[in-house]
Symmetry: C2
Subunit: 367 residues, 2 copies
């Protein structure tokens, strides 16, 4: 693989000096921003998340801030999930769809006030999207990218670290709820959240000049629990059945195909983007669904940049969208986006760059 | 710097096997796709572009295809440049703006037929943008990403290579005009184009399975002219005064600030996105402009991921958006996006990570 060549089109994070001093070896890009990936020992970083506590620079989960008189209206227009009961201080996971019902992002929506929201976004340009919709509909809103960069603390011991930092009130924070607070004078929002199923928090840094300070505070608070650097962890998220929008989805993937139907409320207002298409899809039923794949073979063989075809009886029946070595299951596992004709228990061929590998379809999550 | 970790969120190109066998060492990302950057010797790759001929994998210049009854209408709605006289086979450079007049992309628009267009885009999500506008306005169009991947042949000897491949008619092709053709059975569009000022063509591969074949054909045709691999070249584009949208622009940069006013026609229809804002900006005059910077110092000191502040008399007056070592000028040169109070001949401080460096403001292009 190759080294990255810097450019001003792509952005650093407020924690860059810290992640460099921690020994970052690999990174990826997300929302045109660096997303640190590895620090030299992916397996050790995995077990730290499973058994201990890990700290992640996820600044690339940028915030699309919507403010103004029509902010709540726009938030609902963009979200095929009912927000009418969402309270200030509450977060909600919301798959955003386009007009044909394709999932284009799956942010956590943070409702700060009745007229101020953050969409804490996955990897696609929701500023463009939200500005286009708002301007075309003549809504009275401002859509900005505030100086906010999340630092995730994840793993079974995360609650201890965060409680030591902020106080025992954090133990009572409900999932996706958040509170604006500060630590050593650094303004942050603290949310129970994070892209793993091991539990934890995201600390939304609200002053980009204080990245190294916040990193050091978390590192020091975590030292008694053996905290160390990590990143959103493909083996863990795959075992746990989390979806990566843009990784596991394509230009035509709707929420019903990727296990997100519980986040769609078909009775949201008719002016919600995509809701008419989603009602039709719900009625007709999806053509594809997302299942797990257990691949034969003893050696780690992760997916590269591209999906790999799934074949049954000489016909292409779907794609493998993700593949990783599971350290707990000790085999390669992946996700299938596959015809609903195929079901758990069926076997398929995975057409890999190195040749055909057999795999068994299973329900998600794996663990 | 760090190595890139592959993910299905980011895409390979049809030329990946070829660029790997050519010895790619560095890459970047552009439209979530790999953009090969260096092959081991940036200076040699620069001189090859200046004096000879270079071949570039610029698959990441993706095509946003607009087809259907309202295709021409949508193309004009998205473009603050008059397209009424654009003919099939013609291309036009079009800075796209949002509703407040910010440049959000600067594609080449290729008009194939009266109802079929490609926007050959720079690095931002124009599928999202175009789909949002088209759907909100109820236009009868389809917006897709076809299987099209440009391979650029650039440099003073490019015309010889391309004429040897396709015939002498290519010598008469006007700038940005194109023709659908084929080479050894591979369907391509051939356009006089490319992101350098050294002359050349872009060969739009229209069958992603034939990337290695097309690469080899160009390599073989170029052998008598000492062709070699290269990439969009920051030193050359900076010397030549080319703009990188997203690199040299921010969320509020309008065309008048970055020397693109000649591509805005203020009398396009009122329903063109951003035209009302652009008329107002044109009337009031921009607050910033883009100038060149000649920096003091003898050692190459390129920009990293982030802009660097320009300071005059203790006040921030602008940003350096780009900085690179010019092999011809033998000094560091860059672009200023700076208050119109500052003019060519003025000097400013550049606040660099390593300390303050003095620079002189000059007109663009440098060469």
């Amino acid at each position: 693989m190759f080294t990255i060549a810097p450019t001003a089109r792509l952005r650093p994070t407020p924690f860059m000096a810290s992640v460099k001093s921690e020994g970052i070896t690999h990174a990826t890009f997300y929302n045109s921003m660096v997303l640190p990936a590895f620090y030299g020992n992916p397996e050790e970083e995995y077990w730290r998340l499973i058994n201990g506590v890990s700290m992640w620079d996820v600044s690339c989960e940028r915030q699309v801030e919507v403010t103004g008189k029509d902010a709540a209206k726009l938030a609902q227009i963009l979200s095929p999930r009912d927000l009418s009961k969402c309270k200030p201080g509450q977060g909600k996971y919301v798959p955003l769809c386009n007009h044909i019902g394709t999932v284009i992002n799956d942010p956590i929506l943070l409702k700060h006030e009745e007229d101020r929201f953050w969409f804490s976004i996955a990897d696609s340009d929701i500023w463009f999207w939200a500005r286009a919709i708002a301007s075309e509909r003549g809504l009275d809103v401002e859509i900005t990218e505030p100086d906010v960069s999340p630092l995730a603390v994840q793993g079974p011991k995360a609650v201890e670290v965060v409680a030591d930092m902020f106080g025992d009130w954090v133990r009572d924070l409900k999932y996706f709820w958040f509170k604006e607070t500060e630590i050593n004078g650094i303004p942050v929002a603290l949310q129970r959240s994070g892209w793993s199923k091991q539990g934890g928090y995201e600390i939304y840094l609200q002053d980009g000049s204080r990245g190294a300070d916040l990193w050091n505070i978390v590192k020091e608070a975590g030292a008694p629990y053996d905290i160390g650097p990590g990143s959103p962890c493909t083996p863990e998220r795959t075992e746990s059945g989390l979806v990566s929008v843009g990784g596991d989805t394509d230009a035509f993937t709707n929420p019903y195909e990727v296990r997100l139907s519980q986040y769609v409320d078909l009775d949201v207002p008719d002016d919600t983007v995509g809701i008419r298409a989603l009602r039709k899809i719900a009625e007709e039923g999806p053509k594809r669904h997302q299942l797990g794949l257990k691949l034969e073979g003893e050696d780690p063989a992760p997916l590269g940049f591209a999906w790999e075809a799934l074949v049954k009886d000489g016909q292409k029946v779907g794609d493998m969208t993700n593949c990783t070595w599971s350290f707990r299951m000790k085999q390669n596992i992946g996700y299938a986006l596959i015809s609903v004709d195929l079901q758990p228990g069926d076997s398929v061929e995975v057409h890999r760059p190195g040749g055909i590998v057999m795999a068994e379809l299973v329900e998600l999550p794996f663990l």
